[in-house]
Symmetry: C2
Subunit: 201 residues, 2 copies
């Protein structure tokens, strides 16, 4: 509910600011330092931070306090449960991905339509055949799916995930998914990344 | 050289606009349609497009013509050669990735420090042990690397790639690489994607 009050551009800037704060090694940061690093006007920074409630002073913001407030406001202080769908090379890479362990995200299940693969793969995360998706997602209260199926399976997999109660998908399949209002999608398209690189070479 | 004349925000908007144009099924698009889809003011759209030279009329832009001009201006009309570095699950997933074939990107080599893995992996792309990186990158004129090594190997692999002549890296390792001026980096950090999702749930 809180989230509805904040505009999308402000949320995106707060996410970006959080990354800067987490990398920062100083105990405080001024709005002109933020301006220098991001290009946002000091006025914009002040307005965004004002959304978080009375933080900051004429000497800037305390990094720890500001990170904490951003995480709280954006709901990043809650633990979120993940599943991986599609256990080919890409999907199974995320099964053994160290970076989740220090984060607010917990990978609790992997799914694949290939029952054989589910049985053979070695994983510290429990694996299930895809037909159990709805049951397991509900039982484990999984919020987010990492979708690593092939292009032709992606839409039907997304439909099943949403039906089962997933509210966010990180999509690695190179298609734009059609999803109902209220479902969040992040696309990771290698071709888009390469093009952005190429444009700046 | 051409690229130096265009500001980074304009380049980013043109890249975004290109995606919209490529998805569009109509033969023309107006700046108010672009405004509706992106939130950019019509004035901004017109200024960005002006960079491309005399395009558009009072009735809008021809989609084909505008896509072509953007690709040309951003250097996306050139073919670029890629390599994958680190042939674990993630890296080897990209060896057999269909989406490169219809694109301007050609994957021409894979590298891994594990000579055994290089010999055993089945791939339509030639694979080489990592000690041959400098030689092969120069010989095949490879521009861009997809970096899929572990976190602790990423910086030293990046150093070697840059030394060998690579000018862009798509980095999947969860660390911020230190690279000299003029080298472009795109980070694909699953944790950042998940956080952005979580902030919008």
């Amino acid at each position: 509910m809180k989230n509805l009050e904040i505009s999308t551009p402000t949320k995106n800037r707060l996410l970006h600011l959080l990354k800067i704060l987490e990398k920062s090694e100083t105990i405080s940061i001024t709005s002109s330092q933020i301006e220098e690093e991001t290009g946002w006007s000091r006025e914009t920074v002040r307005k965004d931070v004002a959304v978080l409630g009375g933080l900051g002073s004429t000497n800037g913001y305390e990094t720890e306090q500001l990170s904490f407030a951003i995480r709280k406001m954006l709901g990043l202080d809650k633990r979120r449960r993940l599943c991986v769908v599609g256990l080919g090379r890409l999907g199974s890479a995320y099964l053994n991905f160290g970076a989740f362990s220090g984060s607010e995200f917990e990978l609790v299940a992997g799914f694949d339509t290939n029952v054989n693969r589910v049985e053979i793969l070695s994983s510290s995360v429990p694996l299930y055949p895809a037909y159990k998706m709805a049951e397991i997602i509900k039982r484990l209260s999984i919020d987010i799916a990492i979708l690593c199926v092939t292009e032709d399976q992606a839409q039907s997999a997304a439909d099943k995930l949403i039906h089962a109660g997933i509210c966010g998908i990180v999509n690695f399949a190179p298609i734009v998914l059609k999803v109902p209002y209220g479902i969040s999608i992040r696309n990771v398209f290698i071709i888009d990344e390469l093009r952005t690189l190429a444009a700046f070479l």
